[in-house]
Subunit: 562 residues, 2 copies
């Protein structure tokens, strides 16, 4: 039996460790700037790939990511499994019912948002095939269909992420965009399945297309009707007769692997099978949230980063960057999507600003685009310059989406405690043993930070304190005051071993004191509400009290209580 | 760049689907017979491997699991990653602190439980190397050390599982066995790391051993002291500054992959690195339960089954089964472990029966044994007959452990509701609208099942009902009675749309009626307590009320409320 030699095993693990560690690091870093983590993950791959590491340290690059031999094959296999798992979770997120629930508006946005960019892309590829890199041997029709499809899809996970970050996910606009993006995803993947099938070298032209249409539509329709119904019936049976959630997890993953194998056999790539299976599984009300949570967390945090980082390994993003091709693709993609989806939104009765906002949201391509690009590159349908153009287009459209929507639709960012606490204002060892003493101590530290007199802060806080006592229950006190002229809210968190009487209802002395100072009533309201939510949980209070450093405190505030 | 051809991709996914689906199915099946799931997973692999599928359907076998070429390499790589992930979770379960907490008894059990079987194994391999399959070229010392090590380890996950099933995990005996098994695991893996290092072809004999001892001990000691401390410091920092649990998951998996690569580089195999890393990570109080739960669920339900099933692919378990070798290994293994660990337990002050029980519990080998076996087989240290003997020994010791302990230490099995409910006694549509009518309806179905008169059942239940009203809160009523002459408890679950007055404290009419009939007070007490625990959760009541079939009801009862 063929086995990996010890050296190969070492290289495989080293390569995976390097990919995962740098992808997660870069992904978290870009999140700090409110960008989707996939951006960082791809940049990490570009840094480790031929573009940077391969250019400056070709020896290290060749050791870690050999282009041929067992290691290359194993890494290719692991990437294939990673993307299949990722598409499974993407499919689970699709909510078929909600697409229909949104009715007319969603249908308008999604159909216009697909047809217009598809038409633009198809036309561009049909008119200038050579410029866009189609070889003489390439089937022009397939090429044009591919470009059209590539420009017409939206990336559900990225769109969801952007709307969530902007606080728009549950608004009417948000649900319409989400439903339309789901619909686009579904139709886009079916279209792409067709394009891939048409490239299938085993099938001859005419017969191939019919055969593929039957297979793709047949698989999608069967899986989403009969398959969905069967899964819905089987899941409670599995939950009743096997250990939970082990049996369900085994079932879902086995089914996904089998569907992926079938889709590949049918000539329409593994990812399509995984995506449709995910959509069918995710529909069942019997799939418990905790089961899908396990899948989601491990896949999005381990397998997806591995896959997205591996994108950067495929080519040199500098030498293959063709400004003309990239510009055309980017321009056509944005124009088509924003016009199309915006037009649909207008027809659905939205005002102009919101309609353009919808267009901008739908314009984010993200992950799906790149999966399409890789498959087309591997199938020899597109050149590396077009692949780079698609990846860049996906990144840029994802990047501009959030700021553009923010500009169009004024959103009021909510203030949250964990974003405002700072290490200077964490006072783990308060020394006073009276209420006023403690408040003075905290104002003494807080006021100079913003060039204010401690006396003024203390006066405002203690005035407020006279009106309502700030002792909450379970040993928490939250004194607060509005301070005119502050530029930003301040939150000081103090701990005392002694326990100070803040007049709480349960009579318990306060050991955790959260002082909130804000320039206006809005942020004060937000912060009080946030503190109320956080510290109503006993475990959170315990964690905060146990924190001996600011890092531990921030860790406690940042993670939800189980 | 080397890529998998579409056909190879298809085969990889098909092979993985077949392995996972059959491993999970067989694993769940043997669990029904109170056996560890690893047993079923290995049997599934044997069925798919050369032993059965390869023998009867060689064509299908050769298609699914080719011995050479890209598919073999990719499957080997995925197996290598699966076992590394499995050892990570095994390491996380190790609780270093508790080993020391148990003090003398645990140390006696663990040291005698290692030294005696190690001595027996070493002696047997030293005296009869040819019989046990050592070639002329094999280093006799290394071979004897390997056999000694292989017989001396215990399998923590299997031991834990057996104790849990017997309800002994939290008893004094249970904690001592667990601490000793952890200690054995740790020392066993360090020993095995040494043996593997000594086989390292790159190092020459004398220098090799010293070099390996330094590397293995150095890695283990550094990781469990400095590494552990660093991880404990870094985890809250990651939790504070990254999304949760994504950042932590990325960190743990990156670290594991890197440690695995380092261990392989040092010549002491990836699994050792993963196990020690898991032990170090699991020690940190900052590792949240939910984070390790995500890892645990996906790894034990997806990757571990893949790995254990793949064991069966390595060889033909019929042609390579050598009764003599297997018998010797099995006999020496059981004798050494039971005597050694039992002796240690006696010295620690346990009575004879409990001491033998401890020996039987420690005797379960399970997963770890087979990982050792595979690595030694791949390294050419042992023959296939010895590999089969080790796998059989691991299976048999795991199998006999639970029944033997059960015989030695009488345990009273608790009755639980979910084991007793049956489809005949699920009445989703009660028609009466009075309490007595509903009770009659249920007795009418229940009594004939056990050859009793419905009138008798109804009389007993309504007598009991006059003493205390059986209406609980939130729409649940639990009427019950003791029925002399029953051979087993009966539980009938009925639902009614109407809502019947059962005199509950909150005044709400009952819609879910759980009728409990038992032969004795013991089982009645257990079942009432179980019902109380289950239906104090509102979500569980809702789920039971929403169940329209027995399968849905069983699913609801079987899975914990989130």
């Amino acid at each position: 039996m063929d086995h990996l030699a010890p050296h190969d095993v070492m290289v495989v693990f080293l390569a995976l460790a390097a990919l995962l560690a740098s992808a997660k690091f870069a992904g978290e870093l870009v999140k700090k700037f409110n960008q989707p983590s996939v951006l960082g993950e791809i940049i990490a791959g570009i840094l480790l790939g031929p573009t940077v590491l391969g250019h400056y340290r070709p020896g290290v690059y060749a050791l870690l990511f050999p282009h041929t031999g067992p290691v290359a094959l194993v890494l290719d296999g692991i990437t294939a499994i990673s993307v299949v798992f990722f598409l499974l979770t993407a499919g689970i997120e699709i909510d078929l019912a909600s697409i229909f629930r949104q009715g007319k508006s969603a249908l308008l946005v999604s159909s216009f948002g697909m047809v217009v960019p598809f038409g633009f892309g198809f036309a561009a590829a049909g008119l200038f095939p050579r410029f866009l890199g189609a070889d003489d041997g390439t089937d022009r029709l397939v090429f044009a269909l591919f470009i059209g499809t590539a420009l017409s899809i939206s990336a559900l996970p990225v769109v969801a992420r952007i709307l969530m970050d902007l606080g728009l996910l549950t608004t009417e606009m948000g649900t319409i965009v989400m439903s339309s993006a789901m619909c686009d995803d579904l139709v886009g993947w079916i279209l792409f399945g067709l394009v891939l099938g048409m490239m299938n070298p085993h099938a001859d032209a005419g017969h191939g297309i019919r055969h593929t249409i039957v297979l793709v539509l047949g698989f999608a329709v069967l899986m989403l009707t009969v398959g969905r119904w069967l899964i819905h019936k089987i899941l409670p049976f599995i939950q009743a007769h096997t250990t939970w959630p082990g049996g369900v997890l085994g079932f879902i993953f086995s089914l996904t692997l089998a569907s992926a194998a079938f889709a590949e056999y049918a000539g329409i790539h593994t990812v399509f099978g995984a995506f449709i299976t995910g959509a069918a599984v995710g529909e069942s009300a019997h799939l418990r949230e905790r089961t899908s949570e396990h899948i989601h967390q491990i896949v999005t945090n381990v397998f997806a980063p591995l896959f997205f980082a591996s994108i950067g390994l495929h080519t040199n993003f500098v030498t293959n960057f063709h400004p003309g091709v990239t510009g055309v693709i980017l321009g056509v993609a944005c124009l088509g999507k924003i016009l199309g989806a915006g037009w649909g939104a207008r027809l659905g009765g939205m005002d102009m600003r919101t309609a353009i906002g919808v267009g901008m949201a739908m314009n984010a391509r993200g992950a799906m685009e790149m999966i399409l690009g890789i498959l087309a590159l591997q199938a020899g349908l597109i050149h590396e310059s077009m692949f780079v153009a698609l990846v860049v287009m996906a990144l840029v459209t994802s990047l501009i989406s959030a700021p553009a929507i923010r500009m169009l639709i004024q959103d009021k960012k909510k203030f949250s405690l964990k974003d405002i606490v700072s290490s200077e204002l964490f006072l783990p060892n308060l020394t006073s043993d009276t209420k006023n003493g403690v408040l003075k101590e905290m104002c003494d530290i807080a006021a100079p930070l913003v060039g204010n007199a401690p006396e003024r802060f203390f006066r405002l806080v203690s005035e407020r304190e006279r009106v309502t006592s700030s002792g909450w229950r379970a040993g928490v006190a939250v004194p607060y005051a509005r301070v005119d002229g502050l530029l930003r809210p301040l939150v000081a968190i103090g701990k005392t071993e002694k326990g100070i009487d803040f007049g709480s209802r349960d009579g318990r002395p306060a050991r955790l004191i959260v002082l909130i100072l804000t320039p206006d009533n809005q942020s004060q309201h937000d912060l009080l509400a946030d503190a109320g939510q956080l510290f109503s949980q006993k475990e959170m209070v315990d964690r905060a009290l146990a924190a001996n450093s600011f890092v531990e405190l921030a860790a406690a505030l940042n993670a939800p209580v189980k």
